[in-house]
Structure formats: structure tokens, C-alpha cells
Symmetry: C2
Subunit: 739 residues, 2 copies
């Protein structure tokens, strides 16, 4: 047993879904086969912007084996919008790939043949790709209700930014760009719908089942209890499976066909369905000669794409995240979400952070260079201390950032390595307001008559290991072996409500609900034992799955027998987390990510690679250290992707690289030889056992630490991602990018 006194928490226990996954027994949404199930396919717009004059689906509908063709006509009587998008295009298309019609047929070949028979009469309109084009004077208007194509404007302001800049010794300015990138989950999004007489059964690889359930109910005019959404496993999510994506269209198909319909997206389809917001960040920072930050002004353009999705929240987060984890008395940030003729952007691991932190931390490095300061010292001087407020309306910072920086410095041997002023070495720090909106999670923990325990919790298992974590928490609370505890798959009819799986919230918020449910169960068990032993409940202790008081002891099964007079019945523990958990203020938690990069640079070809990457995550308490490290390193690997290679490339509005051959994601060979993560565990998080949400913080320090390392070694500062060899080679040749 570890010194901590924990039996399960803090241990690298086997994943509960591990064997199922490696043996292929784990079933994903696309594996589902229902009797009479049809295959669905979507007809997508070939044009970036056009009026739809008419659709003739007669020939498609007449094709043998076709059971339904749906178009906007089939939306009559429904409430057809969700997250700003229509279930299927109405009157207009706004991006290449927008669903215009869909078909359900006996098999996928028939469905695809039917798509080819649908005739759509388009009247092409001028299009705008990218925020610059969409914001340019005379740009085509993508939505009538978004003048200038701006669909959200969020401002965060404090102090007096003009006075701040006037008081500053030095002012730094820069313009940083971050491309649109794609999540590339190994499993593209899939859904199966079965329309019943007065109920809908839906299976989807949705991250937030209860939000999708709510959308479907509203769109089709049903109650939530008439919509049953089941989620088995997700083959990765990373935010790409947040909210409803195309589930309403699959339901519409099933309704018309009167049969179950499965529709799994291909990768090219998935890539136009969701991506990260590309961003342009104009950043100005005023600083004293000793490195003290005094003022910051930011203007950020987010490439929202055709529909708003959750862009307002992304803009809100960007406006706050540009503050960095620093004390800056005077600030104004303006974030504009901009409609463009591209597929919609949405959530992506650490929403809005990689874009803003790339800009802010790059500029911090430029400041350090100009002031001749050690970049670590500059950060150390300005980092918020625990309990300070980044902003008055936010919860105080609940984490010791200096502690992480110290760990990063020692773990990366920064001081020794940084003695070489030209070493290809860079550092970056970030802290994000995480945990999503107000916390809402409900869990049940049930003890059955054979002494086994079930966890009913609505967090989806998408590889992050949440089922294993919950099992550890419940086993710990109840002093049971882990194999006596099982997490039930998510099913909205039976699993209690959980707001969402994302924003690093599941262990923290749902974990607390699960823990509370286990403790509620424990309280009931102790009361039963106390009555039986004739002692006060406070005298009953749990140990090794038994209830003990002095010489007396009973098993949980004994307790059930005491309660029910026979080995029968069950005891239900209940745990609910609401906004009181965080005093009704956001964020739920402050997430931390810091990293030090060292590069290998080939000056002849411009090829840059990571030689070493060391990161730190303050996890409060690692419930499963290996999972924490895996998540942190996985996040850093995604950061490596958008730093060095990933971007969605368009030509004439067409996505040129919609597959793994053309859209490069990191391979193992792209990993640095030294790739290490340190976990900081101060037991000061708001989650169970002092844990703190993590898994996103690892992504955002890679790009700024890498560009800073390149600048330190070469004097060339690149402000546009990714660092393709061509871009680096040109920059080295031109040396035009030096600040």
C-alpha cells in the first residue's frame, strides 16, 4: 500500500476497458447493426456559397433499394436549427460539404448511387474563405443577421489600457496566425437512429449525450424521456464530438424511412463537419524595463465558418485566455467570431487556448529577448499567485503556478542548458479557465445483492480513462477490490444527467458526484451496521469491503441481508454536483500547462524537429498517474501536430488535404527522444482527493516554446503556424521576421 494510505487512488491500475479494446470486443457506434437497418449517406454542397433554386430527388427516390431521401422539405413542422445550423441546408449553402440532402438505402453503394441521382440547381454566390476575406469591405454576406460577417464580439476589459500603455517603458506588438486544424480522432463520428412510434432510439459517438438528447427532443417536438441516446465507446473525441453534429439528420432519415438508419462519416466528411477555429491574434503588450507587465491589448479574429456552433463561448474563452496566467493591471481584449464559407469550427482540446497562448507566449519571449531577461524569470515575476484573481468576475486562481514553473525549471535542467544563449531552447507557460460552464453532474452508485457495485455516471469514455478513474474512486471510498465495481455504459434513459464530457471536467465535477454517491452509499451501510451492532454510526469503519466496529464485523452482503431480511435488494447512493461546488462562479478550475522545448534545426532545409520536450501539469492529485501522463503527452503530441505540420489547406474553397496522406498528424517518429512529463501534486484541486482537471494543458505550450527556441537559436521569429520546412527555410533565408 502506498504511504498515502490510498488503496486504489494514485495507482496505475489496469484500464477497465483495456482488454475489450485490445481484443476488439469493444463495440463502437459504427459496429452497431440493427435488424432492418439502412445505411445513410449525405449529399454535400460542391459550392462554397450558393442559393438552392431547387432539388429534384425523384430519380434518387425511385432507385431500387432506396427507402428515404430527405431535403429541407422534410423539415416542415420541425424546429430545424441547432447550434446555428439547419438539420439540412435550407435555401442556401454556405460551405463546400454542407449537407443538402441525405439518403437511406439498403446498403452504402445504393445510397451513394442515389446521391448521384439527386439534382440540385444552385445559383452560385461569391464566397469568402478566411477571416481576412470575410471582413474585407464588400465581402459577401454569409448570414443576413450577421452584418460584416461578425457573429460574436466579446470584450474583456480592466484597468485603463491607454493609461497602461502610456506608463509602460516598452510596448511590443505582433500579429500571430494559427491555422484551422482538425481533431483527427481515429473514429470518425457515427450515429444510428431508430424512429419509433413515439420515441427515438439513438446511438452516437457523442461526447455530450444529454445535450444531443435535448436537441433531438426540441427539433422533433418530443420530451427528453422520448429520446434515448446510448453511447458505448468513443474512438477519441478531443471536442470534435461535442454537441449535436449530424444526429438530427440521421433521425430525420429514420423517420422518413420507417427503419433504423446508420450513418458514419468518412474522414473527408468529418473534416468539414468540425475543426478548430483558425485565428489571427494582434497583440500589444506594455512592460516596464524590469519586466513587469502593465498593459495588454488584443484583437482576435476567429474563423467560425458557416455556422455559429459554440463560437460565442470560444470567443469568451479567447478573450479571457489572452490574459495569460499573468498579473496585467490594464487590459482590453476584443474577440470577433467571423463567418466564413468553410465548415464550422467548434470545440477542440483546450478551446481557444493554443491560438491565444501561441501569441501571448511568443510575445513574452520577444519581450524577454529585448529586455535581456531570462524568459523563465520574466514569467516568474509576472505569474499570478494562488488566490489572486485574473479578473474580478472570475474565481481566484486555485493553483500554485510558481510551483509548476519551479518543477519545469528543475525537470528540464533549464538553468544549466540556458547558459548557452544560442541554445535552441524555448519555454512557455499557460493556465486556462477550464471545467466548462457551471458544473452540473449527477451520479448514482448501486450496491447489488451479490456485493457488486455499479456506477451510473453520464461521462462518456473516449479514451481518457474516465471509467477506470470512477472505478478507482468508488473502490477507494468503499474499500472494495476494483473488480467488484463496474461503470455502466452511458444511456440517457438510465444514467443520470451530466452536462458534458470535455473541458477537463469529468474527473473534477463528475468525479466529485461519483465520490459523493459512494459516500452516500457508505453512510447508509454504516447506519445499517450500526443498528445491527448496537453502536453509533460514527463507530463503524469500512475496511477491506467490510463494516467493522470493535470486535464486530459484517460484509456488505451481510448488511444487505440485515436491511432486507434476505440476500436481496440494493442500496443506492446518490451524488449531485451543482454550481455551489464553485460558489456559483467560473471557472470550475484553473488548468496548468508548461513546457520546455529543445530543437534540432536543419538550416539547409528548414526542417525543424523536437529534440526534447519536457512538460509539467499540476494535477492536484493524480488518481491514475499513467493516464495523467498519457493525457499530458497526448496533448503535447497534438501540440506538435499544429506546431510543425497540421493545417487545413484550401484551394478555390476546396479542402485539399482531407485524409491522412495529405493531412499530416504526428507519428511516433515525430516525437522527441526526450519526452517527459512531470506531475505536480499539491492536493489542492477541487476534484476528488485534491485532484484537478487535466488533459488539455499539455497542448498549448508546444508551439510558443518551439518558435521561441527557433528564435533563440537563429534569431528568426516565426509568427505563423505551422513551422513547415518551407516556411522556416524562407524565414531563415529572408531573416525578415526578426522583431
Amino acid at each position: 500500500m502506498p504511504q498515502s494510505g490510498f488503496q486504489h487512488v494514485g495507482r496505475d491500475v489496469p484500464r477497465v476497458d483495456g482488454v475489450d479494446k485490445v481484443t476488439g470486443r469493444a463495440k463502437y457506434t459504427g459496429d452497431l447493426v440493427l435488424p432492418g437497418m439502412l445505411e445513410g449517406r449525405i449529399l454535400r454542397s460542391p459550392l462554397p456559397h450558393a442559393h438552392i433554386r431547387g432539388i429534384d430527388a425523384t430519380r434518387a427516390a425511385a432507385l431500387r433499394g432506396v427507402h428515404a431521401v430527405v431535403t429541407a422539405k422534410d423539415l416542415e413542422g420541425l424546429d430545424p436549427f441547432y447550434n446555428g445550423r439547419p438539420v439540412v441546408a435550407m435555401e442556401k449553402v454556405r460551405y463546400v460539404g454542407e449537407p443538402v440532402a441525405a439518403v437511406a438505402a439498403d446498403d452504402e453503394h445504393t445510397a451513394e448511387a442515389a446521391l448521384a441521382l439527386i439534382e440540385v440547381d444552385y445559383e452560385e454566390l461569391p464566397a469568402a474563405l478566411g477571416t481576412d476575406a470575410a471582413l474585407a469591405p464588400g465581402a459577401p454576406l454569409i448570414h443576413d443577421d450577421a452584418p460584416g460577417n461578425v457573429c460574436a464580439h466579446e470584450r474583456v476589459e480592466q484597468g485603463n489600457v491607454e493609461e497602461g500603455f502610456a506608463a509602460a517603458d516598452r510596448v511590443f506588438e505582433g500579429r500571430y496566425t494559427f491555422p484551422s486544424v482538425y481533431h483527427y480522432s481515429m473514429e470518425p463520428h457515427g450515429a444510428v437512429a431508430r424512429w419509433g412510434a413515439d420515441r427515438i432510439d439513438l446511438w452516437s459517438s457523442a461526447q455530450h449525450p444529454f445535450l444531443v438528447q435535448g436537441d433531438i427532443a426540441r427539433i422533433f417536438g418530443l420530451t427528453r424521456s422520448q429520446v434515448r441516446l446510448q453511447v458505448s465507446f468513443l474512438g477519441g473525441g478531443f471536442g470534435g464530438k461535442s454537441y449535436s453534429k449530424f444526429e438530427p439528420l440521421v433521425v430525420l432519415l429514420s423517420r422518413k424511412a420507417g427503419r433504423p438508419v446508420r450513418l458514419c462519416l468518412s474522414v473527408p466528411e468529418a473534416m468539414v463537419t468540425v475543426r478548430r477555429h483558425g485565428a489571427t491574434v494582434k497583440l500589444r503588450t506594455g512592460v516596464m524595463n524590469d519586466g513587469t507587465l502593465v498593459a495588454r491589448q488584443a484583437e482576435i479574429h476567429l474563423d467560425t465558418g458557416a455556422f455559429t456552433e459554440n463560437t460565442r463561448m470560444v470567443a469568451q474563452l479567447a478573450a479571457t485566455r489572452v490574459l495569460g496566467p499573468y498579473r496585467i493591471p490594464h487590459l482590453r481584449s476584443d474577440v470577433y467570431s467571423v463567418h466564413t464559407n468553410a465548415g464550422s469550427a467548434g470545440s477542440f482540446r483546450s478551446v481557444a487556448a493554443p491560438q491565444t497562448i501561441f501569441a501571448c507566449e511568443s510575445q513574452m519571449d520577444e519581450i524577454a529577448t529585448e529586455l535581456g531577461m531570462d524568459p523563465v524569470e520574466l514569467r516568474d515575476r509576472n505569474l499570478l499567485t494562488k488566490g489572486e484573481r485574473l479578473q474580478p468576475r472570475l474565481r481566484p486562481v486555485d493553483v500554485n503556478l510558481h510551483s509548476s514553473l519551479k518543477r519545469l525549471v528543475s525537470g528540464s535542467r533549464w538553468r544549466r542548458r540556458a547558459r548557452n544563449r544560442k541554445a535552441p531552447l524555448g519555454v512557455a507557460c499557460g493556465s486556462t479557465n477550464a471545467g466548462g460552464v457551471l458544473p452540473v453532474s449527477v451520479a448514482l452508485v448501486r450496491l447489488g445483492p451479490d456485493g457488486y457495485v455499479s456506477i451510473l455516471a453520464g461521462s462518456t469514455e473516449m479514451g481518457q480513462g474516465v471509467k477506470t478513474t470512477f472505478t478507482q474512486i468508488v473502490a477507494e471510498e468503499l474499500t472494495l477490490p476494483r473488480d467488484r465495481v463496474q461503470a455502466v455504459p452511458v444511456d440517457t434513459t438510465v444514467t443520470p444527467y451530466d452536462h458534458s464530457t470535455g473541458a477537463s471536467r469529468s474527473t473534477t465535477v463528475m468525479g466529485r458526484a461519483v465520490q459523493a454517491a459512494a459516500r452516500d452509499l457508505k453512510r447508509q451501510l454504516r447506519a445499517i451496521a450500526a443498528r445491527s451492532f448496537g453502536v453509533a454510526a460514527g463507530k463503524v469503519k469500512l475496511s477491506d469491503g467490510r463494516l467493522e466496529a470493535g470486535e464486530q464485523a459484517m460484509s456488505f452482503t451481510d448488511a444487505l441481508a440485515c436491511r432486507f431480511g434476505t440476500i436481496a435488494g440494493e442500496i443506492v447512493g446518490r451524488g449531485t454536483m451543482g454550481p455551489e461546488m464553485v460558489g456559483w462562479k467560473t471557472p470550475v478550475l484553473w488548468e496548468v500547462g508548461m513546457g520546455v522545448a529543445e530543437l534540432e534545426i536543419d538550416r539547409d532545409t528548414g526542417a525543424v524537429a523536437l529534440a526534447s520536450y519536457v512538460s509539467v501539469a499540476d494535477v492536484g492529485k493524480a488518481i491514475h498517474p499513467q493516464h495523467c501522463i498519457g493525457q499530458e503527452e497526448g496533448a503535447a503530441m497534438m501540440g506538435i501536430g499544429h506546431t510543425f505540420m497540421e493545417q487545413m489547406v484550401h484551394d478555390d474553397h476546396q479542402l485539399l488535404n482531407p485524409n491522412l496522406v495529405d493531412y499530416r498528424v504526428p507519428k511516433f517518429e515525430d516525437l522527441p527522444a526526450e519526452y517527459h512529463t512531470y506531475l505536480v501534486e499539491n492536493r489542492d484541486g477541487i476534484g476528488p482527493y485534491g485532484s484537478r482537471g487535466m488533459g488539455e494543458g499539455g497542448i498549448f505550450s508546444v508551439a510558443p516554446s518551439v518558435v521561441s527556441a527557433l528564435a533563440r537559436a537563429t534569431g528568426v521569429r516565426i509568427r505563423d503556424l505551422p513551422l513547415t520546412p518551407e516556411r522556416v527555410w524562407r524565414a531563415l533565408r529572408d531573416r525578415t521576421s526578426v522583431p
Copy 2:
């Protein structure tokens, strides 16, 4: 609104499953189709008693389309017995129809063809059909561990029966026989099993899903949480679908085939799977000249059949039920459960009551006739009063029996009609110790973010209307429209534990758990509103689905928003009923059934029919009066069946009438012109709102009231059921049966 102040309780609201059932949308187990599903068929013994020398399934297994053949060999490593029977015959067969092997194949024709290819080498043994044969000296021994073929002997004794008889003025003796009869649910029992890597999914038309789940887990060495049993609707149960029947064999097939397997019994198969215990009751009653009962002695032989099933419980109930609802100071009853070479008997609506009450109430009528007393008066004199104990170890009688008798007398216009001493009029009374073993039921009631409420309760809907009842209870407690409340289908993974659906316990025990869960939810809602209103929780009232205190009011959805800061989350109410509900004593409730029959007798042919039947059920409080009347009249109709026509007829050990043509059940034309039920509602039951379990009491007064009416009109007392025209004609001809 009714004067009672109830909004939903006490009203004949539409059945929640009504539309689904009349439109055919309701899916039963046999309607289930799983991808890759095979059809299972069972090879059954053609012999009543034999050793199995060997089974050669080689040819069957080799047949194209056959995926699994299982025999006893496949039981290795399992715990193969349940309720005394093996999963499939081992070494011996003990009745015609016993499963010897089973096949899973692509379709039912292939499966049946394969059955024909299985060669079984039997060594036939002498057999015993019926308890007389099985108890005869030298009878073949059916189980080695049941000497004399007696597998259970239960005795109930009080007072000193010899002294009692010695003190009696008169002693009456008789021998009464009751045949084996079949439940004849419209849906024969079906099951679908899918064996997974480390879990089993099972769908079954099982009345007691949690008991079946427990059996499967034990047999296959799994935990309960690895066995998921779902039950949609049952097309009738009546006890015939109690406990595990053949589900373990279907699981075994699926395990071997590696594919899902469906196996639905045909009626002939179902009839050898379960039936009511045939019984012989030898009854002796001592009485004073004024009609006061003083002593009773009974010896009952129950035809258990090949395997014990639940025969010990049936014997226990028979031993008590022969007491009648009367004060009898001296008593001894001995009940013997006897193995015979027939399919096993099990539970059947009002377990052990029709057999014993037929005997007791027939004899009561014989006593009244001999003493020249009005049969109603004889009963009135001896009926227990509320609070008296039938037996010291039992809970006191919790119902006013005189109140029911009074209602029966007035409702049937007994006094006026009984003036004619030869009128073909008979009466019978009964009260049974119902509610099953100790009460164990757990329910959850969940309020979701759209203001709709789900009930999670493990009572199976088998036509009795339990879902509707629970919906009424929850709607009543929460002051909601009923369409805001939905009962979730039973699923052992998600529905909390419930002991069983039977023994008239669901409304009483689970209904109380559901009510408690709704009240727990209500308590939480009031606390939320009270905090928001700034008043004490006691000041908050529920009305029309709103929470009100003085001028202030909020909807349930408002309350969720208060609790969670947004329209999200859910509130879970929890209700648990355990033995404390009844002070740790049985019975859970005393169920009442009384009836008056009037006959039409064709003395030339022996054809007897009911001209009128009036019954009384003391339901405490009718939550759904129409359902109560439907159940009471349905039970009486089953009573009409075993009184006039039903019996399983064997010749040379073969069941001769295994179908609806040869096994006659009552049709609408068999119903009397006057067929009326009166409900007594004294609000004194232990169930919600003073309700009391019912639905079984209607069955047992039919036979004794009918034979008594026949005796009153003709002087011929028949002590053997059913009253076929031939039997009546012979008795009238012989006049040998008069006491």
C-alpha cells in the same frame, strides 16, 4: 376532481401501454431480432422416466446451418441446477418433455431438422404419474434424495387437534381433488440470449427478472452486474413465468454458438414447463352444533412433478391456507409435496389457494347443510376479525372480513334469493396470506431538465397495469399531469432491485417504494424552493406541478434552474421498502376474495353453467378501479376455467390436450350473464393510499361456490374438479356423492 381530493388515484385513467398494445407497436420478447441471431429449439424426452445411456449429436452438429448443439456435456464447470432442475437433463429424464438437448441454427426449420438427427439411447424406467401412484408402496423412485418421492413436508399445528375433535359436536370428513391446470398466457415464454466476452445480455418474458439474473450469474460463474436482463412486456404471466424456466439453456446455446439465440416455447412445450400443482386434500373439521368451528385436520398431497421448483413455498402456503379465514383453535395440517413423472408445477395465481379453499369452502357448505344453517351465517360466525391472528407467528389479519361478507350479501341479494332452499346458489369466502416473502423493493423517480419524470421500478408489466398504477402514484405525489410521468422498461442493469412481480405485491410493496421515491423527490424540490423563496421548507406546497409559498411560485424546471444555475441536471428521488414495512413478519398483506354463484343446470346432459357470479374484493383503496375490476373478473374467469373445464389429461404419461382445441379455457360465452364485482375500499391496506394487493383473490371462490350451488339445487355434492358434463351427469345419475 373527485371528493377524495385525488387527482389521479382512484380514476380510470387510460393505460400507459394501451395504445402500443392495441396498435401492435408493443414489442414482446419473441419480437426481438438481433443481428446474427439464431433460432433455438429443444429436444425433449419422449419417455416419462429413463436413464440416458448416451447421446450422439454428431449428425445434428454437422447439419448445414447448425451452429451449436448442447447436451449435459456442455454443463462441465458450471453450477447446473436451478430450482432443483438441471439446465439440461443429466443422466436421467423424469418427464415427457424434459429437455435432453438443444440446438441453435440459422432458422427454426434447420433447428428442428437437427433435433431429429440427435440420437438418444434411453433405458426406460417405470414411471409414476399422479401423487397416488408416486406414493404407492413400491413406486419408482424419481430422485434418490427424496425417499418415498416426498420432496417437502410442511406442518402447521396449533392447539391440540385430538382434544378439539373430541370436544366437537360433529365431525365432517371429505376428500377433494383438484387437477393440474395450465396458466395459458396468450404469450408462451420466450427468451433471447447473447453471450458476450464477459457479460450476458438476456431478454426474457420473466416475471421476476432479478431472480433470473441471480440464477444465470450463479450458473455461469458471473457477477450479477455481468448479466443484463431486459423485460419489455409480458403477454400474461399468472405465475407461469416466475423464476428461471429455460433461460439458462438459451444462454448455454448462445455461449456455444457464439451468436445470439432466440428460443420461444410453443404451447405444448410451455405446458410441460410449468402448471399448477394438482392436489388431493383430505379434510376433517370438528364443529359445535351452533356452527362454531373447533378443530381441523388436513392432509394434502401436492403433485410437484419432476423437479422441486418452488414446491416448498407452495406447501407452506397450502398448510396455512387450509385454515381458511376462520377462527379454528385446534388445527393440524400436513402438506406433502410429491415428485411424479410429470413436468414441474410452480407458481400460479393465488398459489395453493384454489386447491385448499375448494376443499375447505366445500366442506363449510356441507357443514351448513347438515346443521341446517344459512351458509353465510356459518361463515359470519367464524370469520376472523381484523387484528386477530390466524396463527401466532403471522401478522394479524389486517382486513375487515365481515365488511366484505356484508357487501357480498347485499351485492348478490343473497337473503332474498336464498329463501328458496333449492335455489342453485352457492357462496364461498377466502382470505390468503399474500405479498410473497419479505418485501424488498427499491425504486427511483427522476426529474429531468425538461420537467418530465421517469420511474425506475423493477415490476414487470404483464397486463396487470402496474406501469399505469405507478404513473398515477407519481403524478399524484408530484401534482403533475400523467403525461409528464413515464415508467422505464425493466432492465436489471438500470432498474433497481425488486424481488418479484407476483403474489399481489407490486402495487403494495413496489408501489410504496415508488411513492416513497416520489416523496423523496418532492422533499428535495421543496427544499430548493424554500431556499429560493426564503421560507421554511414546510411552507412550500405542491400544486399543479408548481412549488408555491404564499405569493411566490416556481415550476419544477425553475427549481432545477435554481439548483443548477441553468436548465440542466436532474433530481433523483429514492424509495426503499424492506421488511420493516411489515414489522419483519409475513404475510405482507391479507388478500380477500368472496363470491356468490348461481347456476343453470341441465339435468339431462349434466351441463352446468354460471347464470350469475358476484364477487367482492377488499382492495383497501382502488388506485385504478377499472383495473381492479378487470383483475378480479379475470381471476374469476380463470376460476371458471378450473371449475368447469380445465385439466391436463394424460394417457400413458403423454399429455393429451396440449393446445387450445383440446385444453378448453373459458371463452366469453362461458361468462355468466350477471358477472359483477364489488370493491370494498376501507383505506386500511398497507399499500399506497391504503390500498391492498389484489388480482388473485377472485380465483378461489368460484369452484366452491359452484359445487355448493349444485349440491344445494340437486343434493349432489361433487368433490372432484372440473365439473365436466360427464362427471355431473354421472353424479346426478348415481347420486353417490351426497355427503
